[in-house]
Symmetry: C2
Subunit: 311 residues, 2 copies
């Protein structure tokens, strides 16, 4: 089996490709929860939902986030009542937040709620939150320290990034599902999805024990670069990397994941990294449809399987 | 100014008639909260919402409850996730429950939330919950003791009523808004709307001090019978009265409100009550549209004003 680390939309695409090309039950996807937040009393988990909707085939592929065929009657009514309308809550999407929130309030873990949802949506791979403990990404910017969604949605990623803080991460425990995947004797490889390295993957890597687990890995770990021609397909990954002094190249990605990966999948538009000892697979990484996702998933799996960890 | 006591749909109709024919600020409507319940983690207040939507002109007049132009995408999505779908939560209606729930959880009183909503919806009369403390109607039936919504929605009022219990009522305080209306020197009269006497009005009358306040009233109190030709226009009022041994006639209504009312508005289809000392106004009480509602409101106000409390 394989373990994938994923954030939001970009990660969700490769995760759904991997989910489709691997036999049922042979993929565990551990998802960033640093973007989670409480909104109008509801626990919203944007990355978990992006991956879940993609795995269930319910995601909106045109808008790029949320559910296909979404409607916005709730949000209109909320606005009429003087409520907060800066965060887009679709009528269908809301069911996820409401059901999750009251199950959490009733004492269920985020892992348990996620497993329940995946079963209801007949998702045949395993999706787990990185942790059941709250971790909250705080973005230090030229406008001050902003909660992630303030930065991402309210300010549309416009402020200049100066640093990141993951509140709660010091005491957060790796979720049982992610721990079990890391420890699974059947684990063949670890894949870091083409998510934003700073905003989506770094929170996972910041969990106590996570970096050690990857450093001590006995199976190959491969990252898929989120860059194509030095730019992010969607989202602020390239902007964030530049702001924090990382070149927006495979070298920048390789530097960021130093010691954690054995191989890097890059797009043919980008020059291979110059770092010694890192295997490189160059293959188109743009995922426009299910065929693209399956093709990149197969290429990434074959590449990962071809690598052998030095003893 | 006038005070109206109201429950759900029938009460909401007369309340909206009264609200339209009285000058702004000259009506206080105190609403039953015994039907309130927690559903999927949300505080749902069916009677407050029925009255609020009617006052705002947003209610669905065809279906008879909820908001006009409602949609049900949330409920479909909730069902897909394995959530509870026995209680109809419309996409727009949900905004009320979500916004109310998180304001209550943040420490606001139900009165404060209600006032906030009424201001947002530009409602120019005052609507208040009967109490800010939780009161929960429990229906004792041949199937056992049922929470109100179980009886009303899940069992569609089919079980035979044996008795009623209002959990929490012993320690519930009359809301500040209702208390202020009762004590207001400008109060001209009290109107008990044509709501279900047992399920909608009895919870209000059961609040400590409420029956005493009505008994000691210095202004006329008038009830509008919910019966037409011995039947309820909508809902289980007649069934409930029969089950608890009250005749489904103006006499039954008069008995139920003994000592509390000076006058009774009845429909011409029903025989006047035989009880001595009770003033009676016979006028059509069916409210099909805004004209009907305004007409009955005017007739009820004129009748109330015509009565003088014996010293």
């Amino acid at each position: 089996m394989f373990l994938a680390l994923a954030g939001g939309v970009g990660g969700a695409k490769l995760a759904s490709g991997l989910a489709n090309v691997l036999p049922a039950g042979e993929l565990v996807i551990a998802v960033n929860t640093g973007d989670d937040f409480e909104h109008v009393g509801l626990h919203v988990a944007p990355d978990l939902d992006s991956v879940m909707y993609a795995l269930a085939g319910l995601n909106d592929t045109v808008r790029g986030w949320g559910l296909a065929g979404e409607s916005w009657r709730f949000l209109d009514a909320l606005k009429r009542l003087g409520g907060a309308d800066w965060f887009m809550l679709g009528d269908q999407d809301l069911a996820t937040h409401v059901e999750r929130s009251w199950r959490l309030r009733g004492g269920a873990t985020l892992s348990a709620v996620t497993a329940h949802f995946c079963a209801a949506l007949r998702i045949t791979q395993t999706m787990v939150p990185m942790s059941d403990d709250p971790v909250r990404t705080m973005v230090d910017t030229d406008l001050g320290l902003l909660p992630f969604q303030d930065y991402f949605v309210r300010h549309r990623c416009a402020p200049t990034l100066k640093g990141l803080r993951f509140d709660g991460v010091e005491t957060a425990r790796i979720s049982d599902g992610l721990r079990a995947a890391l420890d699974n004797p059947a684990l063949e490889g670890i894949i870091i999805c083409p998510s934003n390295p700073l905003l989506s993957i770094l929170p996972i890597l910041s969990l106590p024990g996570m970096r050690d687990a990857l450093t001590a890995r006995r199976v190959p770990c491969v990252a898929v670069s989120p860059l194509i021609g030095g730019k992010a397909v969607k989202g602020p990954a390239a902007k964030n990397m530049t702001e924090l002094g990382l070149p927006t190249t495979p070298d920048g990605i390789a530097d960021f994941y130093t010691g954690l990966i054995d191989g890097l999948v890059i797009d043919p538009e980008d020059a291979p990294p110059t770092r010694a000892g890192l295997a490189v697979e160059s293959t188109p990484t743009l995922m426009r449809d299910a065929d693209d996702r399956a093709r990149l998933a197969r290429a990434t799996l074959a590449f990962t399987r071809s690598l052998v960890r030095p003893a």
